[in-house]
Amino acid sequence: MPTAASTFAEDTDNLYFFITALDTLFFVLIMGAMGYFMWKYRRRSKDQKTSSITHSGVIEFLWSAIPTVLLLVVFIWGECDFVRQSVAPADPLEVRVTGQKWYWTVEYPKYPGVSLNSSTEEPALTLMVPKGKPVRLTMTSTDVIHSFFVPAFRVKRDVVPGRYTQIWFEATRIGEFNLFCTEYCGDFHSNMTGVVKVLEPDDFERELIKAGVLTQEEGESMAAYGERIYKRRGCVACHSVDGADGTGPSWQGLYGRTESLSDGTTVKAEDQYIKDSIYEPNKQVVAGYAPQMPSYQGQLDNEQVTAVIEYIKTLK
């Protein structure tokens, strides 16, 4: 099993090892009996006599009853752990998770303005939690079903459009752990991964705000700030900057280009069109692309949109 980093991990692993031991025992018994019979009763002569035994009530009862009891033990054990994992303790740290093709957005109601995104390019910092404090994730999807899986925590739950699902956990180990999407969601399903970082409770707030609030840094150009937004706010999932075709049009050479739209009209891609496309993406869709981009209204402010436009201008 992978590194154990939550309070559930030990419970789950104990049952996992119990079943492994049980299975190994039964497998050795079955294969041992089979191997022994294969050797002992191999055909030595053509008319070798065989036993007339056809059944045995006692043996058949035993090999029905013993597995039944053992399976009941496994059922109850798994059920108890599962129930415990279904009910979060009072006053957890609340986190909102949104899945969409093909990245995760993580927000903290307690820390407005903080937002973390995974990236399809590389495993990026996606979720930060303090060690030793229960955390509850309330999750939903804006498009198709995804599934939130952190192997080190032994937690997994589908993230379903149109409803909220919840999981909770308490991290027990400082470090960085893998986050995977485990419900098939299309082309870049296998890139919908991220990094979960567990921090000391004292460092948590400071580090979270440092990582989760996106502001222009001192001496940073608008275009460079725009590039950070492009990478951190999910644009990169669908729009390339090297001319490669993606789920959406590439940004290379976009600024000033005349685009044909799906309704037959054309538009020149300048500041106003780009801004409109970020806030109301499905109003003027470029011909040949599906209207499936989510709106960034409320997620990117005016200044950030301007930075993105400045960045696009540099992509000749």
């Binding site: 089979m34 599962f82 379903v160």
Partner: protein, 540 residues
């Protein structure tokens, strides 16, 4: 007596010409045509699988195929293997050939319906493949909404394709049920039927009862699309998880449609080649029926983390363990049959023993997945992939290959090369375990399924798995070569080369005559009453 038949024409030579095959009402010819179809699709499904495995040699995606191609390939692999290969493999191909022969009947109850079901299968598989290819379907064989809604109307046509194929299974199932009830030879009571017949019968019951659910799902999908009533699509207020309930309500019983016939073959292989009466006949027969019933109420174990209620999860977990018990009973009974037998290690028996090894692993690893808390970790990882390949391939396909070798001399009157049979069995045993055992380890380490690229730490096991896949290819190629070779050059065999006791061996020639039997066979003994059994010093 049976020797007298050998000079006269058999079902293969009785009539000639393409039409005599395409419009035949002979269950044996229909069975053979199914067999050819199934094997062709098996080759195609295997090629898709090896394409996937080749891409997975390296962690980064794209050094062999693109993500889009990869996703279409695993959809094709899963859909073809499930709907076109495993479901019809044993019942429609071997079952059609064997059922009337084993019962001592001239044909199935409704020969015309049988031909119709073959044609529906043929047309259905064409339609299904066309849909998958033309619709660029990349949803996986499960067609989960709402993802499948984003691929045009492909989900409707794919479900329709599965339904057409399902209709063919319904007709075959109905035919088999009536045949078993009405056409058993005089003297063949229910307790004297070969266990293969019990397995085919239980399967037929599931086919008839479960497949209509596909039609209901299809109807709901169409209603949603045309009347814009939100049923599965969250954009219209529907619930995508409801689709999963419908899908698995059919597809979980379908898992038993796939494995029960394999159990039937296993019983025949083990008993005949160890010259022993099958141990616990009644337990094996009734456990098939028990599995058929319980299989209808375990579908929710595919959905422990889907957002279904915790209570539902608990109930489904309990029922899942309940279905494990009859399966365990069968396995123990097969091993016990070997006790004090006279075991011959010929090719069919090697597959029978291989089945016990691989299917035991498949069954035992199901316990991990039935346990709620452990399943949360393992769900949708390679552990699940490994588990169902050990059951579907290590169970059904291994039994199917064993069955082909066991009944090959009956079907064609010739024997294949025993030496090459053993060599290829070794390739398949090593290749299979190398491909899939690693995947348990990958899965418990957290490697999710349906990934085109993956974290570098998983590479070593992926390489082993791919090499295993190629060994499997070699094994199956060897089988294909020596079986085809045997058709012309194989040694001719008599009616009963294994000295088995069921009617398909004792009462007709190899290959059988067109109408199966010269007279009406009668049954006095049970089918596992071998002459080697020592009745004098009865240990019982």
């Amino acid at each position: 007596m049976a020797d007298a038949h050998s000079t006269e024409s058999n079902y293969l030579t009785a009539t000639t010409g393409l039409k005599s095959w395409l419009f035949t009402l002979d269950h044996k010819r229909i069975g053979l045509m199914y067999l050819v179809g199934v094997l062709v699709f098996f080759l195609a499904g295997g090629v898709f699988a090896l394409t996937l495995r080749t891409e997975l040699l390296t962690p980064q995606g794209g050094d062999f195929i693109s993500a889009t191609t990869y996703n279409k390939m695993f959809t094709l692999h899963g859909a073809v293997m499930v709907f076109l290969v495993i479901i019809p493999s044993v019942p429609a191909a071997l079952g059609n050939f064997l059922l009337p022969l084993m019962l001592g009947a001239k044909d199935v109850a409704f020969p015309r319906l049988n031909l119709l079901s073959f044609w529906i299968y043929t047309l259905g598989s064409m339609f299904f493949l066309f849909t998958l290819a033309a619709g660029q379907l990349d949803t996986g064989w499960t067609f989960y909404t709402p993802y499948s809604n984003t691929t045009g109307t492909a989900v409707i046509s794919a479900t329709f394709g599965a339904f057409i194929l399902g209709f063919s299974s319904i007709l075959t199932g109905l035919n088999f049920i009536v045949t078993v009830h009405k056409m058993r030879a005089p003297g063949m009571t229910w307790n004297k039927m070969p266990l293969m017949v019990w397995a085919l019968y239980s399967t037929a019951v599931i086919q008839v009862l479960a497949t209509p659910v596909l039609a209901i799902t299809l109807l709901l999908l169409i209603v949603e699309r045309t009347l814009m009533i939100g049923i599965f699509d969250p954009a219209m207020g529907g619930d995508p998880v409801l689709y999963q309930h419908f899908f698995w309500f059919y597809s979980h019983p379908a898992v038993y449609i796939m494995i029960l016939p394999g159990f039937g073959i296993e019983s025949e292989l083990i008993a005949v080649h160890s010259r022993k009466h099958i141990f616990g006949y009644k337990a094996i027969a009734l456990s098939s029926v028990a599995i058929a019933i319980i299989s209808f109420v375990v579908w929710g174990h595919h959905m422990f983390v889907s957002g279904q209620s915790e209570l539902a999860g608990i109930v489904f977990s309990f029922l899942t363990f309940a279905v494990a018990v009859p399966t365990a009973i069968k396995t123990f009974s097969w091993v016990a049959t070997l006790y004090k037998g006279s075991i011959e290690f010929n090719t069919p028996m090697l597959y029978g023993l291989m089945f016990l090894f691989t299917f035991s692993i498949g069954g035992l690893t199901g316990i991990f997945l039935g346990a709620l808390s452990v399943d949360v970790h393992l769900h949708d990882t390679y552990f699940v992939v490994a588990h169902f390949h050990y059951v579907m391939m290590g169970g059904t396909i291994i039994a199917f290959v064993g069955g082909i070798h066991h009944w090959w001399p009956k079907m064609f009157g010739v024997m294949y090369s025993e030496k090459w049979g053993k060599i290829s069995a070794l390739f398949i045993f090593v290749g299979f375990n190398m491909t899939f055992f690693n995947q348990f380890l990958l899965g418990q380490q957290g490697m999710p399924r349906r990934y085109w690229s993956y974290a570098p730490q998983f590479q070593q096991q992926h390489i082993l798995s791919t090499v295993g896949g190629y060994l499997l290819l070699v094994g199956f190629m060897i089988i294909a070569i020596y079986l085809v070779h045997s058709l012309r050059n194989g040694e001719k065999v008599g009616p009963n080369p294994w000295n088995a006791q069921s009617l398909e061996w004792t009462a007709t020639a190899s290959p059988p005559i067109e109408h199966n039997f010269h007279g009406q066979p009668r049954v006095e003994n049970d089918p596992y009453n071998f002459p080697e059994i020592d009745r004098t010093g009865s240990s019982h």
